[in-house]
């Protein structure tokens, strides 16, 4: 977090509560302090990002979006494509985090503007390590647009 005064905001788009919880556990296990928010699909993600609806009126703008691919209603690909066309939101980096190892998914999502692609390891210990690397990179290493 370095010079930031506010905690690093992550928006996790994941329909499976158990999966979402694993991300939270992995962050805790790594003692990484973040402001983690979760929504269940692309539609809800846009409501969050555009602060639409009562529950999101004070939603913060995320520094990073973690996106699952297969979700009901608006899936990950559709969400990514729509986000990257939105002038106000397109500069938020999106990292795909999914079980899929399919080349098709990897190629497609990078083409749509994904900033990274992580296949979730089956082993919990490896998953915790993966989340640490991810946060080291996005929170400590890279410079991101300053939230306005």
């Amino acid at each position: 977090m370095d010079s930031r005064s506010q905690p690093f905001v992550i928006l996790l788009i994941e329909d499976e509560p158990a999966d979402a919880h694993l991300v939270k556990v992995a962050l805790d296990e790594n003692h990484i302090l973040t402001d983690l928010h979760q929504v269940v699909d692309g539609h809800q993600a846009f409501e969050f990002l555009r602060r639409q609806g009562a529950q999101f009126t004070s939603a913060p703008r995320p520094d990073l979006i973690l996106l699952d691919l297969n979700m009901p209603r608006m899936n990950g690909r559709e969400f990514l494509a729509t986000l990257k066309k939105d002038q106000a939101l397109c500069n938020i980096p999106v990292v795909i985090i999914t079980t899929s190892e399919a080349q098709r998914d990897i190629i497609e999502t990078y083409a749509l503007g994904a900033a990274g692609y992580i296949s979730k390891p089956a082993d919990m210990k490896q998953f915790i390590v993966a989340i640490r690397y991810l946060c080291d990179y996005w929170i400590k290493l890279v410079r991101l647009p300053v939230r306005s």
């Binding site: 158990a18 694993l22 297969n70 899929s100 089956a122 082993d123």
Partner: protein, 606 residues
């Protein structure tokens, strides 16, 4: 005597009969001698009998021989022209026929006697071309310009019976003794044109098929058939294997536009209940009904059906079974044999294209299905599994202080099970993809493929301190390199994995060219196989060793078998028994390589 000879040489009687007898006459030695005597006498007379009689005789002999040889060559020329496959016609500067060979009679219908002396344009030039012909003649006579002379041209010609047909011809001006004539060699190209039209229609359809649907192709086929047979109606049906059920596939464009079609595509008909238009199925041959209205067993047309005047229906046979029928109808004149050929050839082609299109579509469909299945495995099924193992691990950690060793073991079993199931899913995925990853066969150095496999295995080889030897032939092979790489990697990997603890693994990899096949055998001194269990080795998820001794999912050898089979080869295993080591062999057929380096195989020792 001499005069007689002279006149018969220069003025053969008209008519081929006279010409035959003229040609058949060959002078006997006595006759020849008499002719020379007459000629010599004329020579002597011309010199006032002052010349040497021997010189006169010699000159007379030369003259007679010249006449005889001229007569001979003229006869030859005449024979050639009479037997020519081309018609030969000569006209004078006024367009009057001066020569007409038998072939000209055959293709235009006028005999030589009728033709000689007639104006050519009234006989063989269609009225629409006559003015042009006369003008062309005039221009040439005036200016010497003849753009159509001495080149091959194609035009329509007129037969004596009034029908027009295509010919090709070359016309050349012939000047002799100050007289201008035109000579033409003419060929009837009706048949060639007809075949050309069918052929071009076929080529157009093949081209069309590459970027159009099956339905569109069938309509296009009917349109071509309609043009070739001058038929406004056209339909194409598939006949099912039972030989009883027809399904309408398409109407021609004109049928749809000009006639009210009673039934739409996909309609099914029973052959037994359909009208005379399915007669070709009963009779198992093409059928022409040129007078449809008078057919005794004709049924009434369904409402909205076009009035049929005449029709022709051709069956398409495959393996002595009718698979489709193509029908055309309402040509203005009766259907003839050439219409039948055109329709049959197009119907045939359409079926071939339809079949390959359907095979393509089927392959695409099954590939898409497999893709969907693979995706379901790799994402949808593995996700819940990951949940199971992850949360079990979390539980294990959270409860670490409170659990007995035995209960922690339970948790570990559960985690192991979930992880193994995950590996099995990945293995099954790979198994299902053999031969379908879209990698085409290509020529590869088998030794290079082996080296790449060894590179992947290097850590395992080092860890086991394996003694690995490579021998034999490593030719160029036409294979899917990634699959063969996987095959070699699995076989050698197994030889390392199934080693006996405390025994240094000795592994020998031998390549061998046998007849038209290439065989690779991987032999080891490891765990071996109980011989009566060998049959189970290559089945999916079958394991012959306990998991406690050797890790694994049981997919590796099944994958090897599928890869070998995909290459048209086979795989087998040999072992003297448990602890006796084993030998796994794969044999792949060698395709003949066209390039010169086909024999470039390498001997390797490692």
């Amino acid at each position: 005597m001499g005069n007689d000879t002279q006149s018969s040489l220069s003025n053969p009687e008209p008519g081929s009969g006279a010409r035959e007898s003229f040609a058949a006459w060959v002078p006997s030695p006595k006759e020849r001698s008499d002719m020379i005597e007459v000629a010599a006498y004329h020579m002597a007379q011309r010199s006032g009998f002052k010349s040497d009689p021997h010189d006169c005789w010699a000159a007379g002999e030369a003259q007679v021989d010249l006449m005889l040889s001229l007569r001979e060559s003229q006869f030859k020329l005449q024979t050639i022209l009479n037997n020519s496959l081309d018609a030969m016609v000569m006209i004078d500067a006024e367009g009057i026929v001066t020569a007409w060979n038998p072939q000209a009679t055959k293709i235009f219908g006028w005999t030589e006697d009728e033709a000689i002396g007639q104006a050519i344009h009234t006989m063989i030039i269609p009225p629409s071309h006559r003015a042009g012909h006369i003008q062309g003649m005039k221009r040439y006579l005036a200016s010497g310009e003849g753009p159509f002379l001495k080149i091959l041209i194609e035009v329509q010609a007129l037969h004596r019976d009034g029908h027009e047909f295509p010919i090709e011809l070359t016309i050349a001006p012939v000047k002799s003794a100050g007289k201008l004539e035109f000579n033409a060699f003419i060929r009837d190209i009706t048949e060639r044109k007809r075949i050309e039209r069918i052929q071009t229609a076929r080529l157009r359809l093949m081209e069309y098929a590459t970027n159009h649907s099956l339905k569109e192709l069938l309509v296009a086929t009917l349109d071509e058939a309609g043009t070739l047979t001058e038929s406004p109606i056209g339909f194409y049906h598939f006949l099912e294997t039972d030989q009883k059920t027809l399904s309408l596939q398409a109407w021609s464009t004109r049928t749809t536009r000009e006639f009210c079609t009673a039934a739409g595509e996909g309609s099914h008909y029973s052959v037994d209940e359909a009208g005379v238009w399915v007669e070709c199925i009963h009779l198992r041959r093409p059928v022409i009904h040129n007078d449809f209205a008078s057919l005794p067993n004709r049924r009434g047309m369904p409402p909205g059906h076009a009035e049929v005047l005449r029709e022709m229906v051709v069956p398409v046979f495959r393996k002595s079974r009718i698979v489709a029928i193509l029908g055309v109808g309402n040509k203005a004149t009766p259907y003839v044999k050439s219409d039948l050929e055109a329709a049959s050839r197009l119907a045939d082609l359409a079926w071939d294209i339809a079949e390959s299109t359907r095979a393509d579509e089927e392959l695409k469909r099954s590939n898409a299905e497999l893709e969907q299945f693979s995706y379901a495995i790799s994402h949808d099924m593995r996700q819940p599994l990951r949940m199971i193992s992850s949360y079990l691990q979390l539980l294990d950690e959270a409860l670490s202080d409170q659990l007995s060793t035995e209960k922690r073991e339970y948790l570990n079993f559960a985690v192991d099970g979930a992880k193994r199931l995950d590996q099995m899913l990945v293995g099954l995925l790979e198994y299902s993809r053999v031969g379908r990853n879209g990698e085409p066969s290509q020529w590869a150095e088998s030794r290079a493929v082996l080296d790449e496999a060894l590179l992947f295995l290097q850590p395992a080889i080092a860890e086991a301190k394996a003694d690995l030897r490579i021998h034999g032939d490593w030719p160029r092979i036409s294979v899917s390199p990634n699959e063969v790489l996987r095959l070699l990697q699995n076989l050698i990997g197994n030889a390392i994995k199934f080693r006996i603890p405390g025994r240094i693994p000795e592994i020998t990899v031998i390549g061998e060219t046998i007849d038209k096949a290439w065989r690779v055998c991987v032999a080891d001194n490891g765990a071996g196989i109980v011989p009566d269990q060998i049959g189970r080795l290559f089945q999916v998820f079958q394991r012959l060793q306990s998991r406690a001794d050797y890790e694994g999912t049981g997919i590796g050898l099944a994958l090897c078998r599928k890869i070998a089979e995909h290459h048209g080869g086979r795989i087998w295993a040999e072992s003297a028994g448990e602890g006796q080591g084993s030998r796994f062999c794969v044999q792949l057929p060698i395709k003949r390589e066209e390039s010169a380096n086909a024999t470039d195989s390498r001997k390797a020792e490692a």
